[in-house]
Amino acid sequence: MIAETILLKARMVNPDSHALVSARAAGAYRASAKALAEEPEEIVRLVKDSGLRGRGGAGFPTGLKWTFLPKNRDATYLCVNADESEPGTFKDRLILEKDPHLLIEGIVIACHAIRCAHAYLYIRGEFCLPYERIRAAAAEAYAAGLLGPNAGGSGQPIDLTIHRGAGAYICGEETALLNSIEGKKGQPRMKPPFPTNVGLFGKPTVINNVETLANLPFIVENGPDAYRAIGTEKSPGTRLMSVSGHIEKPGVYEVAHGVPMRGLIEDLAGGVRGGRKLKALIPGGSSTPVLTAEEAYAVNVDFESVQATGSMLGSGGCIVMDETTDMVWALDKLAHFYAHESCGQCTPCREGSGWIAEIVQKIAAGNGTRKDLEKLESLAAQIVGNTICVFSDALAMPVVSHVTKFRAEFEAHLADRASSSAAP
């Protein structure tokens, strides 16, 4: 039986956990006070040594990213990525709603570490309560002098501006997020240059996910070794796993990296709903390849274990599907999503996303032919490798994994299946 390892969720059980008075009573802003008294480089070292990896999806080592900032720079920006839009993911929202001061404290620490005087928090336009809560928390923090011209009494300014998105999944992509803040369309930029060199308004910029920043207070207060004591060597710390779909107890569970996926699903989340059998599981948000039940229950909740299966831990958005699920129908939902969200900038993705969605819909409706299925597979291969960002890869993952691992279902949907040569 596995249990949650509570780090980030610690204060969320408290009444009015979002309010400053409650958060402070439970220890908020102790770590940031400590950090502000240290040299910025020391904080960078701490975070690097902790092995903290980004929680937005890519899993890039946070401290390492910070070191990419050029030594001699005239300005630095921090962008907080609160655009949480990856299907299956709802954990950043939890932090914003239940413990926004944990995030703000993380922002203060990060700003100090990277010498940033102004942070922009990009929050998806749809979020209502999370937006209200983070706004209120920021106002409280300003009033208490934790943010502002003399942040935490450090003598240095740390400003936080909350910037609302307006409905575009692609704005969760780092450089699209920057463009969106700048008043352009949320279309990704070519890389290089990378944001740490040329970012927001042309200045060196770090973009960090909400959950990533929420880990900083613990690391500063307890040190990298304490952090490394949790989780695995390559994936230290805890993970907020969003579990949803055909599950008894959907919700956000905080587990130490490395716990078995089976434990998360059956011990913590109550198992597949109605006692049914697991059929498929998406481990890290819709942009990660789907796992069969067998694969899912052989894997641990950490970056390397999931990667070994060919999938990714991604954003930790775990979608559970039981034996009643039509996998073609499921892919139809996802293909529609990607076609809707393609920014349209570059040719393969703009044309390919719509084309793929159309074919999947055709097959799901029972009107597809063998040629359509072949076309689908070839297009999914064609769309990757020559685009400005990895949205096309994200779109190809579900297509390829669904068709490959559940081929029989796709074949069964074909209108000309009677004439197909492949035996079911």
């Binding site: 969200e341 920014c343 570059c346």
Partner: protein, 503 residues
């Protein structure tokens, strides 16, 4: 300088250029749509993707600057396959409009499909996304959204060159469309350039719509006569009528652009032409007209020869020699009453004549109005619509003999006692010197219309009828003499082209 390897051969190129330009220096053409040397690069069409050793993903050549030691492959299997795939994606929603599309024959999709596609279509016509067609984008431009490949060249042009963000890409994903703000059309005075830079038939010329297939056009390199800038142009004709004007790249003068006024400044070449000489007694043959002119000039007490800043340097020089040889006591003054327009910081110059500077260098500028007020008995006007520009001057010339050497039936020609047709710049060789002192040649694209002759040939004829000796074996001889006599004209300026602008 940077040393890099291109398709197996080591090359040296100047620093800071992108791979498309670098490859072009060695005759290697990397196909592209969204890249244009005059605009910021975007790398969105993906057609120019090439293989660079050490980088697993293909890189867009337009956004990659050459670096020392770079090893580039533009024709590897991976690159070629990628091009075919991009072509397939571009053509997926493209309407099958070729039979009715003006772009046919100079279309980027046609061109690259033949070179890099040649795949069978996997799309049924009914599956293609429908968008707006025949959208009025202003006095010069028609938009067909279905044909658009969303390269955004037009958006970048309006933003970066014309300085107004009038064109944008609206919507998202496969529903993206080029548009102006709803209810508005393009207002910038350079809007026509989007027609040239659009690689496909999405943005086409209203003026040229359905006129003629481009492969029937004959083209000549020429210079715009609209103002003192001297933008380089292509002038194109079919059945001896000018069909359209396009900019010709010249990095030193107009780069890749012309203004909308210049683009449309050709209809007068085709219309209201003076086809044969006419006097008070009726039409004349060229020889008879020359004799008639000589008679009027001989009988006149005082003669004023009026030169024009619209005339070529060679014709102006010929007029000088004509005066010296045939009418040594005649006054000779050049000038123009053409109202200047507002210049701008892009291309337009206030003086709406192409050769004010040349006329100055040849010593012909002067007080034209003053000369007219002296009320000479006879005024011979060469390529100058005095009375059209200043109708009030008709009073000054009442009762005087007016001889007009004109291409069109303008106000001056109509009032003239004798009018002799001459060729426009589209029908003869010549050169103009722009406001910077840059002397540029234009070349004929039409055969002489009607019985018009080059100005210098008419002057030769009149001189002969006056008993004077004035003759050039050919235009080349006239040009040589002109430039020798006026070294300040410099030498003919070449047109340094604009890099990878083939598409």
């Amino acid at each position: 300088m940077a040393k890099f390897t291109l398709n197996g051969v080591e090359r040296e190129v100047p620093d800071g250029i992108n791979l498309i330009e670098a490859a072009l220096l060695f005759g290697v053409r990397i196909p592209h749509y969204c890249y244009h040397p005059g605009l910021s690069p975007e790398g969105n069409c993906r057609m120019c993707a090439v293989e660079i050793e050490g980088i697993p993903k293909l890189q867009t050549a337009c956004t990659t600057l050459v670096a020392d030691g770079m090893v580039v492959h533009t024709e590897s299997e991976k690159v070629i396959r990628e091009r075919t795939e991009v072509m397939e994606f571009l053509l997926r929603n493209h309407p099958i409009d070729c039979p009715i599309c003006d772009q046919a024959g100079e279309c980027g999709l046609q061109k690259y499909y033949m070179e890099h596609g040649l795949h069978d279509s996997r799309v049924a016509v009914e599956e293609k996304i429908l968008k707006r067609k025949r959208v009025d984008l202003g006095p010069l431009v028609v938009l067909d959204s279905e044909r658009c490949i969303l390269c955004s060249r037009c958006v970048r042009f309006c933003d970066e060159i014309a300085g107004v963000r009038e064109l944008v890409l609206a919507n998202r994903g496969g529903r993206s469309e080029i548009t102006t703000f709803p209810g508005r059309t393009l207002e910038n005075p350079y809007s026509g350039n989007v027609i040239d830079i659009c690689p496909v038939g999405a943005l086409t010329s209203k003026d040229f719509r359905f006129k003629v297939r481009v492969w029937f056009l004959k083209t000549a390199g020429s210079i715009c006569p609209g103002c003192e800038r001297g933008c380089n142009i292509y002038i194109e004709q079919y059945q001896n009528e000018v069909q359209r004007i396009r900019p010709r790249a010249n990095l030193d003068v107009n780069r890749w652009w012309i203004c909308d006024d210049g683009r449309l400044d050709y209809k007068w070449i085709n219309r209201d032409r003076l086809l044969r000489a006419e006097g008070e007694a009726g039409a004349h043959s060229p020889e008879r007209a020359d004799e008639e002119a000589a008679r009027i000039l001989r009988e006149a007490g005082s003669v004023l020869l009026v030169a024009s800043p619209r005339s070529s340097n060679e014709n102006l020089f010929a007029l000088k020699r004509f005066r010296d040889a045939a009418l040594p006591r005649a006054a000779l003054v050049g000038g123009s009453f053409r109202k200047p327009w507002e210049g701008d910081r892009i291309l337009k110059r206030p003086d709406r004549n192409p050769n004010r500077k040349g006329m100055e260098i040849l010593g012909l500028s002067g007080d034209l109005e003053g000369a007219l007020r002296k009320a000479p008995d006879c005024v011979l006007v060469v390529e100058n619509d005095l009375l059209g520009d200043r109708p009030d001057l008709a009073d000054l010339l009442r009762g005087k003999k007016l001889i007009a050497l004109a291409s069109n039936r303008d106000a001056t020609a109509e009032k003239a006692a004798l009018r002799i047709p001459v060729c426009t710049y589209a029908e003869t060789e010549g050169s103009w010197t722009n406001f910077e002192g840059r002397t540029q040649a234009f070349h004929p694209v039409l055969k002489a219309v009607g019985e018009s002759r080059p100005v210098f040939r008419v002057l030769e004829g009149i001189a002969r009828a006056l008993g004077a000796s004035l003759e050039w074996s050919d235009f080349g001889a006239l040009r040589e003499e002109t430039f020798q006599a006026a070294p300040a004209l410099g030498s003919l300026s070449p047109s340094p082209g604009g890099g990878a602008h083939a598409l």
